[in-house]
């Protein structure tokens, strides 16, 4: 008979048996089980191995605080390590594997670490592996990395789907136990917009795990009634399987909803998990409390668990970890466990209560004033050793031991915004600071109110209180009569004496000894102890460990626990899959991309694309026979200079500037003058930042007296627009000027080369004369093309050739590039990509991003005289600072290698011949380089000290990274047509 530890009753569906496997062995459980409850039902206590010592471990809790029962769920790419069996909802076909073991869970060779424990004490890795130092990288670190960690990642791409979203509510209630349900009922009936979230797959919290909390009926019935009512209220959203894992600023909470973790495999496109960002006007934390253990020697064996968890397993899941159980407690709650188990037919071999005045029961023996001092059982608990009040020692056979050390309110979320909990002596625990956060109230056990009656009442009251802030009137609902037992506990954290190890942090294998050693070695601050021993730094964040460690530290220092302090709880409350954080943003959808209007056509041409910000731009267009990018780029460059080429320049920022004061506005924005730019003309402009350094360059075309179109570089499109908006709204609100981006609205193509005009004359409708006389260099205007389509034409050039830019509404961009290429066929016009664009501009000596790097002045760029002193413009005054205009500053120059087969590298530094290559002798640096098919060698642009006075000099280009050291001749920055004659033909 399987499920030998299954009891009567419970909230499981016995008519729905489920089969599952653990470490390859098949078992059955029921719908409503967790993996942990189903394993316990099948008498499986050994579920894992510990982190450091590889000690056998079993389930310790019945909730998300679980430190031990961590398994790998699913297989292949869907494998998920470190999954807590206690919150893994059982489904048919579930496959789980234990982890951190080799070769098997029962026989793990790394358990040798347990025998070597004296070498693996706190901070051992700071003390060992020190010699020989060369071994660290090659030997020690790889070995430690192999041994470290618990579960294994599959190393494959996660095939599951994740999603994310946003929720808004008046009141977010975190936790659906008695106080959370009472709060939801109160707020829901008041008509407030409510979200009630619980990490469990059933709502009810401890009401599901306990008997007789409510006097008239079973707690679970009242729960069902309330949930039934809430689910019929349209203003209440019930979210099960949802962990609110973090609180952030301004009432924002992070939550992860495990939508389909409880099915074998989600349907295609359906997310396994959804990450929610919840905007709550008010929130109520009703997250309950976590029971704490009592530490003693060898307190980590499978079968040793929290007493409250034992009770939950018995009452909710109808399971006991063993038919023979001992309870060790310091409070009345331990007695409740013993009585519930006993009532379920479990043999309570003994109840050991450290208090000398413990209550007694006829059903089982109670040892008042006793302590458990040790345990036995290699792969599972076989017996415990009890020191009785009289000092005698008694060994009691048992398969499970329940530890009841009192309860800690789950204050975690109240600490995420730096709230510090306060010590409550009555319950010997930290509780949230009263009135600590106006946005987040706390009720029930999370506030340290442990009686059911108190929890229900405080939940309703806090909901009323929170809604009052929002001017929503709510009323106390009728609440059921409930248990109202006082707290009767004696603080007791760990059993003193004994030579062995007593575990505090089960997941990271931190013992009382480790804390003592850390303290002895000078780590007194709780924050230092945490980091030195790794206490509380495992995936469970020490939910069952921290308070015990504080108690040990307090004893060592002779202080009270609150004087020792606490570490900070940070999000997430429980681990969240990285996939959930990514949501839909994965693979090539990691971020949105932007496509140019000619993208489809460029793809058809076999273009190679490059990312420019979010844009995908054609980098070059290989043709048949070309095997290297340089072949394509050289061909494109030569073709443009020889006849003509077309390049999609839509990505350049376009800002529509209108208004009666548009010209004055631009006159302030640009360092050079724009007020007198005639309609139908374009002007190159340089923008400075307030500090006088160059910000961006571009052109502004005047389409009408009150209408300009400003172009920016691709990279600075957004920042320039933002800058101009700031100036408009904040600096000169009195100017009548309006701005809007039109980058996306127009498809714009550069048509460059000696035949550019002839090509365009085939496109532009004959009514528009674009001859050199009628449409000279820097002209602009609105035209029609191809029989009547509205277009804008600008005679501007980035390549240094006769060139135009033509813009049409974007939807016609694809048709236009096809038409341009067709019209250009007779001129052998080619499409060219960003790489050729770059070569052309370097040959022409135009500055781009490499030169406009935020450190360049107008003078450095050779544009010092463009900063007009006749008007005020942004950056003018500070551009005149003496060190920015000194004569010996850097100046933009061109470089050609003395030996034509040498290659100039961007980023290399310039040194004088005969001087040592050192920072002190640095003369400048190379900003942009390209192979120039026009020059027939590598060329470069560079900033060189006094560069404008050194044309013709030979200088060294030094690249210490690969010992490069070549000689180059300094030239002007214009390698072609320095007089600009080609532009004007």
């Amino acid at each position: 008979m399987s499920q030998r530890n299954r009891l009567e009753g419970g909230l499981i569906e016995r008519r729905r048996p489920l089969s599952f496997s653990f470490d390859g062995k098949s078992y059955t459980g029921y719908a409503g089980d967790t993996l942990a409850s189903a394993l316990l039902a099948n008498d499986v206590r050994l579920m894992g191995r510990s982190f450091k010592y590889h000690r056998p471990r079993g389930v310790f809790s019945a909730g998300s605080e679980e430190p031990n029962a961590l398994v790998e769920l699913r297989s292949g790419a869907r494998r998920e390590p470190n999954s807590r069996a206690t919150v893994t909802e059982l489904y048919d076909g579930l496959k789980a594997e234990s982890q951190n073991k080799f070769p098997s869970l029962r026989f793990d060779v790394l358990a040798i670490n347990d025998a070597l424990s004296s070498f693996l004490s706190a901070g051992f890795y700071y003390k060992t592996f020190m010699w020989p130092s060369a071994f660290w990288e090659k030997v020690y670190e790889p070995a430690i990395r192999r041994a470290a960690g618990l579960g294994r990642l599959s190393g494959e791409e996660d095939t599951d789907t994740y999603d994310k979203g946003f929720l808004h509510c008046d009141l977010l209630i975190i936790g659906a136990g008695p106080s959370g349900l009472a709060a939801a009922l109160t707020a829901g009936r008041a008509g407030a917009d409510v979200i009630l979230a619980d990490e469990d797959f059933l709502m009810g919290g401890r009401l599901l795990a306990e008997k007789d909390l409510l006097s008239v009926r079973q707690g679970s019935d009242w729960t069902a009634d309330v949930i039934g009512e809430l689910s019929n209220l349209p203003n209440v959203r019930l979210m099960t399987r949802t962990t609110v894992f973090g609180q952030y600023d301004h009432g924002i909470f992070g939550a992860v909803e495990r939508v389909l973790d409880h099915v074998l495999e989600p349907q295609p496109h359906k997310p396994r998990q959804v990450l929610w960002r919840i905007h709550a006007k008010r929130a109520l934390l009703t997250a309950g409390a976590t029971e704490r253990p009592i530490a003693f020697e060898n307190n980590d064996r499978p079968g040793i668990m929290l007493a409250g968890a034992m009770r939950a397993y018995a009452n909710r899941w109808a399971v006991t970890a063993s038919k023979d159980v001992v309870i060790f407690t310091n409070n009345d709650d331990g007695h409740r466990t013993a009585r519930d188990l006993s009532a379920n037919g479990v043999n309570i071999a003994a109840l050991v209560d450290c208090r000398t005045n413990a209550p007694t029961w006829k059903e089982f023996e109670v040892f008042s004033g006793g302590e458990i001092i040790n345990s036995r059982g290699r792969l599972g608990l076989r017996s415990v050793k009890v020191r009785l009040q009289d000092g005698s020692v008694k060994e009691i056979a048992c398969g499970a031991l329940g530890l009841a050390g009192g309860w800690n309110p789950n204050v975690h979320l109240t600490c995420h915004k730096r709230g510090r909990p306060v010590w409550n002596k009555a319950i010997s625990a930290f509780i949230p600071a009263p009135d600590g956060d106006p946005l987040l109230r706390v009720a029930g056990a999370a506030a340290g109110i442990f009686s059911t009656r108190g929890a229900l009442k405080s939940g309703a009251e806090k909901a009323i209180d929170a809604l009052e802030d929002l001017d929503i009137s709510a009323h106390m609902p009728d609440l059921p009569e409930a248990e109202d037992a006082p707290i009767n506990a004696a603080p007791f954290w760990y059993v003193k004496g004994g030579k062995g190890r007593a575990w505090l942090d089960l997941q990271n294998d931190v013992t009382v000894k480790d804390i003592k050693l850390a303290h002895q070695e000078g780590f007194k601050s709780v924050e230092h102890v945490k980091r030195y021993t790794t206490l509380g730094m495992a995936t469970d964040q020490g939910k069952t460990a921290n308070i015990g460690a504080l108690a040990v530290l307090a004893d060592l220092d002779g202080k009270a626990i609150p004087d020792v302090g606490t570490t900070i709880f940070r999000p997430p409350y429980t681990p969240v899959s990285i996939g959930a954080f990514a949501g839909r943003s994965r693979g090539k959808e990691f971020r949105p991309y932007r496509l140019t209007p000619s993208h489809k056509w460029a793809e058809e041409q076999g273009a190679i694309f490059v990312e420019a910000g979010n844009w995908l731009r054609a980098q070059w267009f290989p043709i048949e026979g070309e095997t290297h990018w340089r072949q394509s780029v050289d061909r494109e460059v030569l073709a443009v200079r020889k006849s003509g080429g077309v390049c999609d320049v839509t990505t350049l920022g376009k800002i529509d500037v209108q208004g009666a004061d548009a010209a004055e506005f631009l006159n302030h924005i640009y360092s050079n003058g724009f007020a007198k730019l005639p309609v139908g003309k374009t002007r190159y402009g340089l923008m400075l930042r307030e500090d006088g350094l160059a910000m961006d360059d571009g052109t502004a075309a005047r389409l009408a007296e009150d209408h300009f179109v400003v172009t920016t570089t691709t990279a600075n499109a957004v920042s320039v627009f933002r800058h101009m908006e700031f100036c408009r709204q904040c600096l000169w609100p009195g100017l009548d000027v309006q701005l809007i981006s039109t980058t996306e609205a127009w498809a714009q193509f550069a048509v460059a080369g000696p035949n550019a005009r002839k090509l365009l004359q085939k496109i532009v409708d004959p009514a528009y004369d674009i001859s050199n006389e009628a449409f000279p260099y820097m002209a602009c205007g609105e035209v029609t093309i191809c029989g009547g389509l509205r277009a804008r034409l600008f005679r501007i050039s980035f390549s240094g050739e006769l060139a135009y830019e033509i813009a049409v509404p974007t939807r016609y961009g694809d048709a236009l590039i096809r038409r341009l290429m067709e019209a250009g066929r007779e001129f052998d016009a080619i499409p060219y990509g960003t790489e050729a664009l770059g070569v052309l501009r370097i040959e022409k000596g135009h500055a781009a991003g490499n030169e406009l790097n935020g450190q360049s002045t107008a003078a450095m760029l050779g544009m010092g005289r463009m900063v007009s002193q006749k008007k005020d413009s942004i950056g003018r005054v500070l551009a005149g600072r003496p060190h920015l205009i000194r004569e010996d500053d850097y100046r933009l120059v061109g470089l050609t290698p003395v030996s034509a087969d040498s290659t100039i590298l961007a980023g290399a530094h310039l040194m004088n011949i005969g001087e040592i290559a050192s920072a002190a002798n640095d003369q400048g640096w190379v900003t942009s380089t390209a192979y120039s098919p026009h020059i027939g060698s590598s060329i470069g642009l560079a900033f060189l000290k006094k560069g404008d006075q050194r044309h013709g000099d030979v200088i060294r280009i030094v690249n210490p990274l690969d010992d490069g050291d070549i000689e180059a001749t300094v030239t002007g920055p214009h390698f072609i047509d320095p007089e600009g004659e080609r532009l004007r033909v």
């Binding site: 999603d163 994310k164 946003f166 808004h168 359906k270 029609t784 093309i785 009547g788 509404p809 236009l816």
Partner: protein, 190 residues
């Protein structure tokens, strides 16, 4: 209307609009919207309103609102700024048309090709919208319109019928990315 020889493509790069029917959700690219942006010139708010009243059958919308009139849709996009939308087939040069109407009371800029427009219809679109943008989507009612971020993209959303009919405007160059996001979210909840 000119009879030029160039064939337009939709923002998704097709010659006809793309429709996706996913469960009860219909997502349709709508290329038949002309858009003109409107920015009031200094001190001319009342004059602008007077000129536009016949077109909008009322006042220009305030923050977070749209006017959905017979002849045009107007959306508030910023302080003193609106988008006006009308069928493209009937208004091929809408910006010029509006400029003629408002004269020097406002700056008008053609925005038709700056955006991709998706019409979203279904019985309950709230679960899908919740996954897309940080709006209290269940509270959106007909005539609400606002800017919002969808997967890093600055978008505009117009509610035509609460929970059932929305228009989403996104940057045209990212139409494919936005479409992917909308389709993924629709599959997620369908």
């Amino acid at each position: 209307m000119s009879d030029h020889i160039l064939t337009p493509l939709t923002a998704l790069g097709k010659t006809t609009s793309t429709t996706d029917i996913i469960g009860g959700i219909t997502l349709c690219e709508n290329p038949n919207f002309a858009i003109a942006s409107l920015a009031v010139r200094q001190g001319r708010g009342q004059d602008l309103q007077t000129l536009l009243t016949p077109v909008l059958d009322g006042e220009l919308p305030g923050p977070g609102r749209a006017v959905l009139s017979e002849s045009a849709t107007a959306i508030w996009t910023g302080n003193g700024q609106w988008f006006l939308m009308a069928p493209l087939s009937e208004h091929p040069d809408y910006a010029a048309e509006i400029k003629d109407l408002v004269k020097d009371t406002a700056s008008v800029t053609e925005q038709t090709d700056g955006w991709v427009i998706f019409d979203l219809t279904g019985d309950d679109l709230v679960p899908m919208l919740e996954r897309l943008c940080n709006l209290n989507s269940k509270a959106l009612a007909a005539g609400h319109a606002t800017r919002c971020l969808i997967e890093h993209l600055g978008c505009l959303i117009i509610c035509r019928e609460s929970g059932r009919n929305f228009t989403i405007l996104g940057p045209r160059s990212s139409a494919s990315s936005l479409h992917h996001t909308l389709v993924t979210a629709a599959h997620s909840v369908a």
